[in-house]
């Protein structure tokens, strides 16, 4: 397997794909949204429970590829228990990692598991797979 493909499907991604965290419908959600990728028909639903500006619970359901599912699983891990402001900061960082014209340096210690998503940069057709859960999270809030 070539290196680029290996970067795309790192162990972290495969692990999250196999055993996604926070998977399933969330009872008592306060916010939800569905996201679609019309290119491939992928579909994801993100559920949030907000308590005084804090994400007290977050879950997702999806019929999507490994990249999308892993991205959603990592997203839920990271956003769980965060304030909305912190959530926005994480969202912006992911956007930067995946879509900035110049690839920003990735700091494993700081970025944690979202660093694993940056391998998608070399596969332009797959960037939307990684960003779909995050856009869906944003639209659940709006």
């Amino acid at each position: 397997m070539n290196d680029e493909l290996h970067d795309l499907y790192q162990d972290i991604i495969l692990e999250h794909n196999k055993r996604p965290r926070h998977y399933g419908v969330l009872a008592n959600f306060t916010h939800t949204a569905e996201g679609y990728n019309p290119l491939c028909g992928d579909k994801i639903t993100v559920y949030l429970k907000l308590d005084s500006g804090v994400i007290s619970a977050i879950q997702f359901e999806a019929a999507c590829c490994a990249i999308c599912k892993a991205s959603a699983s990592i997203m839920c891990d990271l956003l769980m228990g965060q304030t909305l402001d912190n959530g926005t900061a994480v969202y912006s960082r992911v956007n930067e990692l995946l879509t900035a014209e110049q690839a920003p340096p990735v700091d494993l210690a700081e970025d944690g598991e979202i660093a694993a998503l940056s391998g998608v940069r070399k596969f332009p057709a797959r960037i939307k797979c990684a960003t779909l859960p995050w856009h869906t999270y944003r639209s659940a809030l709006s």
Partner: protein
């Protein structure tokens, strides 16, 4: 090249008008015409097939999305721009006359290609999608009223669903959908039941782009005509694989795309019976489609001009004509036999893979294989195969209702053309096995 011509070019063109005539004549004059099909030689006609992608030889198995182009098509387009470029139907100068002649000759060629007599019934469009939209527009304006029914099938491409949904919304007509069975075969008993005097049009695909199912179009046309119901055949996926005698088929509309029959993108064909086309109002309006313009009123050209407003895709039409010439130079029944051999070998080898499921198992099938492996998402399959130089399609194939019918949102699809070979099948199979091992 893959064929040998002894005799003049025009003799060949005449002979190639109809496969039936051709096959009869082949017996009679086998001394003067010897068409053979050799799938190894034919690859040399398509320069892109010799290229490498991601450091691997290209294995192009996305032919149902678009076909590759032979050198003769590429040359024809280059020649047009470097030696013949001009607008048509306007200038009195030499180049304009040449371009106009090439454009109108192409129309005649298309008519012969599908065995219809009147070239005026050939309308150039941007593609199959625009062809269907033009017909839908005509039906909305002149045919449909509340309570009328439009009959389509569950295996249609979105291009043969959405225009009719809009037509139904605008007129109060009802869109009816003929189901398919678990193999992806059209349920004929349901078709018989749903077809009625209320049906104002049957719009159906000849071959399913997602599953490869070949529909019994002649039978459908005959049944519809018994009730005076016109029939539109979406032949976008059929024309790349087989010669079709539209006059014998007897349908009322027949639409297909240039880029799927080894010609350029952006050029499509709508054939319709004269009486239908004359009934329809213009689809777009402006230059070149008028007879006389006055602020008090405008009169339109007859067909085909009425439907070809503005400067058309001249390059596309010239490239399309070159593609048709190319196709008429190969033994198409033999090419289809080769495609079927590829389909059979690929089906056998893929089916042998543990956890691999083929969606669409019609006994009548074109060289298209939609498949799933374990719970690996088709998008991931596509990326993995691409790393091995294998180009397939992953997704819903613009047939979401059909995939939903099979309980999936996407499939991986390998589709073959006559220039594919058995090594392509082997590379597909070994890439699939490698990927399956990775996802464990």
């Amino acid at each position: 090249m893959c064929y040998v011509i002894v005799g003049s070019n025009s003799t060949l063109k005449y002979l190639a008008n109809s496969i039936e005539i051709l096959s009869q004549l082949r017996n009679l004059v086998s001394v003067t015409i010897a068409q053979t099909f050799n799938y190894t030689d034919v690859r040399a006609d398509f320069p892109i097939l010799a290229s490498q992608v991601r450091g691997k030889p290209l294995t192009y198995l996305d032919n149902a999305a678009t076909s590759q182009k032979p050198q003769v098509v590429i040359d024809a387009i280059e020649r047009y721009y470097s030696a013949e470029n001009s607008n048509i139907h306007r200038g009195v100068h030499y180049l304009s006359e040449k371009a106009t002649d090439a454009y109108e000759t192409a129309r005649t060629k298309v008519a012969k290609f599908i065995s219809v007599e009147d070239p005026d019934e050939i309308i150039f469009t941007r593609g199959t999608t625009e062809s269907i939209n033009l017909i839908a527009h005509g039906f909305i304006e002149t045919q449909l009223k509340a309570g009328d029914e439009i009959l389509i099938s569950h295996m249609e491409h979105h291009a043969n669903i959405v225009p009719w949904q809009i037509a139904a919304q605008k007129t109060g007509a009802v869109l009816k959908v003929v189901p398919v069975d678990d193999r992806g075969v059209l349920e004929m008993s349901a078709f018989d039941q749903m077809l009625s005097k209320r049906t104002k049009l049957v719009a159906i695909t000849h071959i399913s782009n997602a599953l490869g199912t070949i529909n019994p179009v002649k039978e459908l046309v005959d049944k519809a005509h018994a009730l005076d119901v016109p029939v539109l055949i979406d032949a976008a996926q059929a024309t790349p694989h087989m010669s079709i005698d539209v006059a014998a088929l007897g349908c009322d509309f027949f639409v297909f795309s240039g880029h799927k029959i080894f010609g350029p993108t952006g050029i499509g064909i709508l054939w319709g019976k004269r009486e239908w086309l004359e009934r329809f109002p213009p689809y777009q309006s402006g230059g070149d489609m008028i007879e006389k313009v006055d602020f008090e009123g405008t009169t339109y050209k007859g067909i085909p001009g009425k439907f070809e407003a503005g400067t058309p895709h001249i390059e596309g039409v010239i490239g399309l004509a070159a593609a048709i010439d190319y196709l008429q130079g190969i033994d198409r029944p033999a090419a289809l036999e080769h495609e079927t051999a590829l389909l059979n070998v690929a089906t056998e080898k893929l089916s042998a893979i543990d956890g691999l499921r083929i969606i669409g198992t019609s006994p009548e099938k074109a060289s298209v294989i939609s498949f799933l492996i374990n719970d690996i998402h088709p998008h991931d399959i596509g990326t993995f195969l691409d790393a091995d130089g294998v180009a397939i399609r992953a997704g819903h194939h613009c047939a979401q209702p059909l995939l939903k019918r099979f309980g999936v949102s996407a499939t991986a699809r390998a589709s073959f053309a006559f220039y594919n070979n058995f090594e392509d099948v082997d590379r597909l199979v070994s890439a699939v096995l490698k990927m399956q091992k990775f996802f464990g």
